[in-house]
Subunit: 117 residues, 2 copies
Amino acid sequence: MAEVPSPAPTGDELLKVLSALGNPHRMRIVAALLESRNYVSALAREIGMGRPLLHMHLQRLEAAGLVVGTLELAEDGKAMKYFEVTPFFYELTPHVVARAAMTITETADRTAKEEAK
Amino acid sequence: MAEVPSPAPTGDELLKVLSALGNPHRMRIVAALLESRNYVSALAREIGMGRPLLHMHLQRLEAAGLVVGTLELAEDGKAMKYFEVTPFFYELTPHVVARAAMTITETADRTAKEEAK
DNA sequence: CGTGCCTGTCAGAAAAGGCTGACAGGTATC
DNA sequence: GATACCTGTCAGCCTTTTCTGACAGGCACG
C-alpha cells in the first residue's frame, strides 16, 4: 500500500511539489488535513480563509500529488468534496536536485509558438 | 563533518528551503555548482543568465543555507566569489511538513504593529 | 590611462502568484 | 418560494517575484 515516489523524481514533478509546499498557507493546509480529512467549506472556516482562495491552494496541492480530493455524497444528498493528504515522501539532497534539474520541461519558449498556430 | 538538518526543521527554515528550490533556474544552479564550484561571472556565462539575476538567485539559495559563497583572492589579485553547494538533506513527508507548519513566524501581521511602536 | 574582468547594487519594467467579491449550479429543509 | 448549506468559476486588484540595463568600485595588463 501507499506508493512513495522517493528516489529519483522528474524535474517537473519535484518542481511542482517544492513550489506547492513552499507556501505558509499550503503547509498549514497539509497540517490541518493530516489531522483529519475535511471538506472545503469546513476547512476554510477552520483555518480562516476564503473559499475561492482555499480552493486554489487545494488544486495546487492536488496537482502536485500531495493531497487527493474525492467528491462524496452525504446521506442528505449534499455533494461535498473531501480532501486528505497523500503519504508522499521525497528526499531532498543536492544529488536528487541536480538529477531532477536535467529533466525540466522548458516552459519558457513562448517565442514564435503562438504564431505557428 | 557536514551538518545535516534532517529530522525536524523549523517552519521558516523549511519554507525558505522549499521556495528556494522550487524554481527551475535555482535547481539548475545547484546542479551546475554540484559538478564544480564556480564564481559568479563564469557561472552566469555557463548557464546563460544575466549577472544581476544570477546574483539574486544565489543569495536566495545562500539565505536558505543550500549553497555557500566565499570571496577568494586569485593569484593575480582579482577578487572572485566562489560558490559551492552545501551537503543538505531534508526529508519531505506529511508529518514533517505538519510539524514545521506549527512553527511559522507570522510575517503577515502588519496590523496594529506599527502603531504599537 | 584605457581595457578587461572581477565584484556589487539600484531603479523600474514585466510576469507570476495571491486574494476577494460576485456569480451560477445543486439538493434539502421550513 | 425563501433559506441554508454544499460545490465550482470568473474578472479584477494587489503584492511579490523575476528580470534587465545602467551604474559604482577594485585590481592587473598592455
